[in-house]
Symmetry: C2
Subunit: 445 residues, 2 copies
């Protein structure tokens, strides 16, 4: 019945944090995996230019191989795991592996966001598979959830906290009132942000993951470059605090919503209600909320990065590739095929949302009336106004006071028009702060 100990030879390309963790998982857990799957997963090669990390991890020198060609020419190798990262060498290596009829497993979100459809098409042409559970959400099996777990659903919306660095920084800012710069420094000290954190804090990494998840969820081709992305790097602690007073928590949300006219995709820091499950996803954890037309709201939570969690996702792909389930899913499900139509992505100016607005204004009579008038003129209805004295030292500037306004549902285009008018009229002394308030989606059953 159960085939026992079929040996599967595997090569890992790239032995950094994730590559090293994946290699260790295969070597150390070989017996565990054999017991669970009936497969003998044999790490045969680690391809890299430099084996310092592999040596530090105690991996056997017999595994080291500097040349990709050796792996591609070895007919025993059926799975190649690309963990180099980036969109140049990694792309070249994946293409070569697929053309050599090797099944590929990758964690490379940047590459997939840009070239997913083309690479999957190349895999299909060569009758092999390309698996990428580790590209989104680290140890959270979110790719499987979308492709298999909630396959019976039309997905109406995705809301994801998919970058642990940003979520750690925001959790610090919320919990301690610290500034973005201080919280970033803290994350760097804790090893949770890179020396150059720009890919994370700019929202780009989240956008990569959103493009992948949306392609799977909606079965349409996403144009990555037309997804509007705002990072957390200009977020001010004053707004984090005011949001808190209003019952909101700031999160960097990667969202994709099915609307009547098409898809609305975006990455930006938004306020969500403290009541929503995503609000309590803290520190380096990630979570992805899906809204399906049968399931309603489901959510998937876990560590979105780090060696061992990502290795878990990689090994699960190795197992499903070796078992052949990957091939069946790949062949039958419309995962990113050439035939999928281009998504119609709705420009954000057309989006309707509630808004949090903060103006720095002259502490003079009549200013608030003029601001509310400008908003009203643009059809924006006000939900609440908060004007507070700022205590000494907390960003207080002589003669300037913050006015916080939350709106009812309004079109973003109109909000921007009002803000431009207020700036032009010198009523707003600085660029007004404008953040979306994202409400929980209604379940559609």
């Amino acid at each position: 019945m159960r085939k026992k100990h079929a040996t599967i030879d595997i090569a890992i390309l790239g032995c950094g944090t994730v590559g090293g963790a994946a290699a260790l998982a295969l070597v150390k857990d070989r017996e565990l995996l054999e017991n669970k799957t009936g497969l003998s997963l044999n790490l045969k090669y680690i391809v890299d230019k430099n084996f310092d990390n592999a040596i530090k991890l105690g991996l056997s020198k017999k595994l080291f191989e500097p040349k990709l060609q050796t792996v591609l020419a070895d007919p025993s190798v059926s799975i190649v795991v690309e963990l180099i990262g980036g969109t140049t060498v990694a792309k070249d290596f994946i293409e070569k592996a697929l053309m050599a009829k090797k099944n590929v497993v990758t964690a490379n979100k940047a590459l997939l966001a840009h070239s997913g459809a083309a690479l999957l098409s190349l895999a299909r042409k060569n009758h092999v598979t390309l698996a990428f559970e580790a590209s989104c959400g680290g140890g959270i099996p979110i790719v499987r959830a979308l492709v298999d777990g909630v396959v019976a659903n039309r997905i109406d919306a995705i809301y994801g906290i998919v970058n642990g660095t940003c979520n750690y920084i925001l959790t610090q800012m919320i919990g301690t009132g610290r500034s973005y710069q201080d919280a970033l420094a803290d994350a760097q000290k804790a090893g949770l942000a890179e020396a150059n954190p720009s890919l994370d804090v700019s929202g780009t990494d989240s956008a990569h993951k959103l493009a992948i998840l949306s392609s799977l969820a909606f079965g349409e081709k996403i144009n990555f470059d037309s997804v509007p992305v705002t990072g957390i790097d200009s977020l001010q602690s004053m707004d984090v605090g005011f949001g808190g007073e209003l019952g909101y928590v700031v999160k960097l949300i990667a969202m994709a919503i099915r609307l009547d006219g098409g898809l609305y995709l975006r990455v930006h820091p938004v306020f969500i209600s403290r009541e929503h499950p995503l609000a309590w996803v803290s520190g380096p954890f990630n979570a992805i909320s899906l809204y399906g037309h049968r399931t309603g709201h489901t959510m998937y939570y876990g560590r979105g990065a780090g060696g061992p969690p990502t290795a878990s996702a990689i090994v699960s792909d190795i197992v499903s590739t070796a078992l052949g389930t990957q091939k069946l899913l790949f062949r039958h499900l419309g995962i990113w095929t050439d035939r999928t139509k281009k998504a119609k992505q709705i420009p954000y100016s057309e989006i309707v949302s509630r808004f949090y607005l903060r103006f720095m204004v002259n502490d003079a009579p009549g200013v608030l009336a003029k601001i509310t008038a400008a908003l009203g003129k643009n059809g924006i209805s006000i939900a609440s106004v908060l004007q507070k004295e700022i205590p000494e030292g907390a960003g207080r500037q002589r003669g300037k006071v913050p006015v916080v306004i939350t709106t009812h549902m309004a079109k973003e285009k109109n909000v921007r028009k009002a803000l431009t008018a207020l700036r032009a009229a010198k009523l707003a002394l600085e660029n007004p702060v404008c953040l979306h308030i994202v409400d929980e989606r209604e379940e559609s059953f």
Copy 2:
């Protein structure tokens, strides 16, 4: 490449809430499912004695079939979906379907908890599959997460809120201070508790799900009858309130933990910290936390019951059965095989935990000293003491006051010994209340 529109004939047995919802999903979403999977899922029969619900749902009369034998004798039917429930007729029908070489999909947790291994064995003998995503967690793809998503992990612990009725009642009690009886009545009014709620509120339903999840997670045979189960029906609002003051939330947790000497399985209402993600799972929602040795903590959240969410799980099983992925997983993974060894289940008396204890005592000097002395004598170290005046009407009884004590880690056996002694000495005027305080598990990487 992608096989298009292979037609799969399906029979549903039982057309109640879940059967009706599954039938509707297959009929209404046929095109959606065809687009997503390349499969034409054709509901051919609904087998039931009574078609009132089916008629109400607008399902075609052509589908109605009173005799199981017709389905079993029809060679075109490859998938039989058992949604009758219970452990008598359902068991008989599943066995007959498996012996007729039909693949079976079921949502029947009670049957699987008692007879899962035998039924899976029967399926294997007949070279067909038995899929049961819908048996646990409604629309949450938790069976897949365990079998496939986190396959690379040794699972160290499961903590589940797996009964929506109980969670709704507890959420009411926490939010409004209401009594169990009032909250139950409210749940019944909202259609979230049955007229006879005992299977839910006694914890039995949660225990069924725990037995299934544990079998999958640990690959060992669980003896359902030796899982200690305590329901929520004797929970007092006074304790919910005191727990809240101490920073805890009461949840009915189905837990399975891998300890040195074996597995510790249990269903009981416990206090968990307000900081733990499970604390925020409110109303009818369910969530399951898994702790894997590579992933660390992952959690899966969604609606644990109801027609459409459960139908989503059923259809996902129909799809994976039709695609053949179910067969591959079933053949290769050690899912509940005859060969799995019996789990060693650790008796709860040996368990070490923190405890919440409440005593009703005479409002007299020296009582607290005697209680703490009795605890100390049994090696139980006290973490905090809370003695409060009870306001008029809130369960106040003349001359009796509640004393709440939380302990440091202590063996349950010793706690019970101390409570027995205190009762014998008439220091505790009523049966003391004893609830576990469950701390978040440490991640093991």
